[in-house]
Symmetry: C3
Subunit: 306 residues, 3 copies
């Protein structure tokens, strides 16, 4: 039995196969509308996350399966002091597969060790969020036709953003990737990722503070939110905040085929005027999130296509 806890649980080849399946689903969703009939997905959200939860639920319903679960820890037995190990053993009696979001890093990993059903990590603290990474990869690949040979700009809070860390690690497995890391000094990619991933593998990267000066060389611009409270001092925040807001004006300096991604929800880091730009891919990304989760559920349940 397979689980998905860390994006690297899947080999490059397995990711390729999964994205191929997701592409086939996107082209003809009706064909898959009954493949999980009679199967149940448990959504165990110890921390609320409407978007991720609903994306999983939509995926399972699209496959003809059904859904049960909880949307926050208040209404769960965790409040009574039950361990994750016990919970998952009981949930294994209720469902065929589960997606777990947990504020504690490593909780889905622990669950997977005691589970009789496949466990999907739907985000554990600041740690991993592998289905977001798969969504990002699918979106890049479907727009660019490939995952290698691309210059990827990552912009905003690169220190605390787990989606950014997972994406760097995953893209590092492809040939010809270059990273442009755009963030204030306080919010740079942590050393252990720069050192263990980028330098260790000899992947070209540069770190800059300003989006506008580098936007012209990017194939992909991955935006994330910069929160005021992350800054060490107010002065820096005021000086830098506008550098990390993508506007129609800044888009003028970008390649005509650059794609803008964002894991959403977005607050103000992408001006709404950019939504109408054909290069804005973040709502397509949300749609891809459903397809890639459909593919993942099929893979982990070992459900055939026909």
């Amino acid at each position: 039995m397979r689980h998905l806890i860390d994006p690297s649980d899947l080999s490059v080849q397995e990711v390729d196969e999964l994205l191929n399946l997701a592409d086939r689903i996107a082209k003809d969703p009706k064909r898959y509308s009954e493949v999980c009939k009679g199967k149940k997905l448990a959504t165990l959200f110890y921390e609320p996350s409407t978007r991720t939860r609903l994306s999983f639920e939509a995926a399972m319903l699209n496959l003809g399966g059904s859904v049960l679960g909880f949307a926050s820890a208040d209404s769960s037995s965790a409040a009574k002091g039950e361990s994750v190990a016990d919970t998952i053993r009981v949930i294994s009696c209720y469902a065929d597969i589960c997606a777990m979001r947990h504020p504690k890093e490593g909780a889905p990993m622990v669950a997977s060790r005691f589970s009789k059903i496949p466990v999907i990590n739907a985000g554990d603290g600041g740690h991993q969020h592998p289905t977001q990474t798969l969504t990002d990869l699918m979106t890049i690949r479907s727009i660019k036709g490939r995952l290698g040979g691309l210059t990827i700009g990552l912009c905003g809070d690169l220190k605390f953003g787990r989606t950014v860390h997972s994406l760097i690690k995953s893209l590092s497995r492809y040939e010809g990737i270059r990273f442009v890391l755009i963030s204030p000094g306080e919010l740079r990619v942590p050393d252990y990722i720069v050192g263990e991933v980028l330098r260790a593998k000899g992947i070209p990267y540069e770190e800059v503070e300003d989006l506008e000066t580098v936007i012209g060389k990017l194939d992909i611009l991955y935006m994330t939110r910069v929160q005021r409270e992350r800054f060490f001092n107010e002065e820096d925040y005021i000086r830098l905040k506008d550098s990390y807001i993508l506007t129609a004006h800044k888009m003028q300096g970008a390649k005509p085929d650059m794609a803008v991604l964002h894991p959403l929800p977005r607050v103000n880091e992408i001006a709404v005027e950019v939504d109408d730009d054909p290069r804005a891919a973040y709502f397509t990304q949300a749609q891809n999130g459903v397809y890639v989760r459909m593919a993942l559920i099929m893979k982990l349940l070992e459900v055939g296509e026909c």
Copy 2:
């Protein structure tokens, strides 16, 4: 693509057609049990409302579709500062139609402008609640055989009750309607409705403080709750409160074929002894709420009857 934000979004003819469909569903629900197979309803309840939410969910399940969503804003991305416009664009990727309840007036209208799927207003602040109005109309029509030529009594809090305002506006579109508006002085129908709707259209109405003296001339009595905290002073409350409680005794003065409606939940404004009176129609109304929502979902999804 059509939405339902305000009761007047539907023409008189469209309301008729919708109620005809709802009647056909009520007579033979089994015939419609698969017409929405493979379709998904998102229930986006930024404000809890069990009754309305479950009524929508029952409607979609009765049509063979499925449901996803959230029951309160705590577990939604709204907490992270996302705009309604962004939320609906993402939800458009997850579902085929949505019902939105929001504490802020106008939120469903904004959503409908950015949505790729039909949006149903399931109540926005003190503003509109069009599916309640359709439920009321269906109930009146099914009991009386028509929507025109009726004397309609509205009793209780006529100032803040949005169901009352919507019902007045909707019934004003039919011939031969007369209103008897029964409320304490503090809780009378607002001037803009009396002026712009009733007087502008020359619709006969009277405003009274006492239910008992007028109950004998009513074809329909629509009860609503009078909350103590709405009164300006305790003295008025004590003096008037019993006037707005419907009892078996007061029912003796009513026509033998008058029907009592109430949007529910009821607290004490209808004595439980009235429940056994054949003229009590408020639980039938709850049942009609499911049928009318089934018809509405079918209409907005452009699903045929076969």
Copy 3:
């Protein structure tokens, strides 16, 4: 129409038939996967209980039916002061059967009097929890092949544990049952149960304070949690707490075919090392909880087997 409010609502023969059906379901669940197609279960949880709620939902989904409801009172109309009688009359319009958990004892009983659909008590305060009792009976019977002629040890908090009280009453209806009641003095089985059930029916029982000295004679050991705050003084708690924790060491003194049950969630009253003992039956019990609820839903909806 039948409801299940109290375990004794079912005769011994009906329990037998229900457990027979549950056994058949356990052997061939696929055969029952569509028997409730088009039926809806409402889960009305005025008090959160993930395990019980999900068990009911899994049961209904396994039968091909669908589910709607609420997981806590916050998001229900109870907050607006609606009576249980009104709520159930409205829910009767939305669903075909309902499971109600309520903090107030007797609420499901009241609901059943006004309901047009079968009501299952899913736990009312400290009162009854009949589907847990059925789960316990199914587990004992499936392991031992019978419900009579057994020595049943009940260990832990026997004063406040409603599952224990219901189980004593239910097992008292079978021949040749003996009880060994293992608890601290403060947490003994209440007099009204010892007197009205055990002594009145002449059922052999003994009350002891120590698990280890009696474990050797038990066919079934039913563990429950002992909460520190239930003790009158700290001294007693420290002296006694280890007596009510089941360990691998204590299991060495038990019969080779004794079965350990626990209603779950477990905190620390069964050491995790016991989980690997083949006599540990508490996770099997969780699985049986789904089968027995499937059987119960079928029975109350009068759904045939084919």
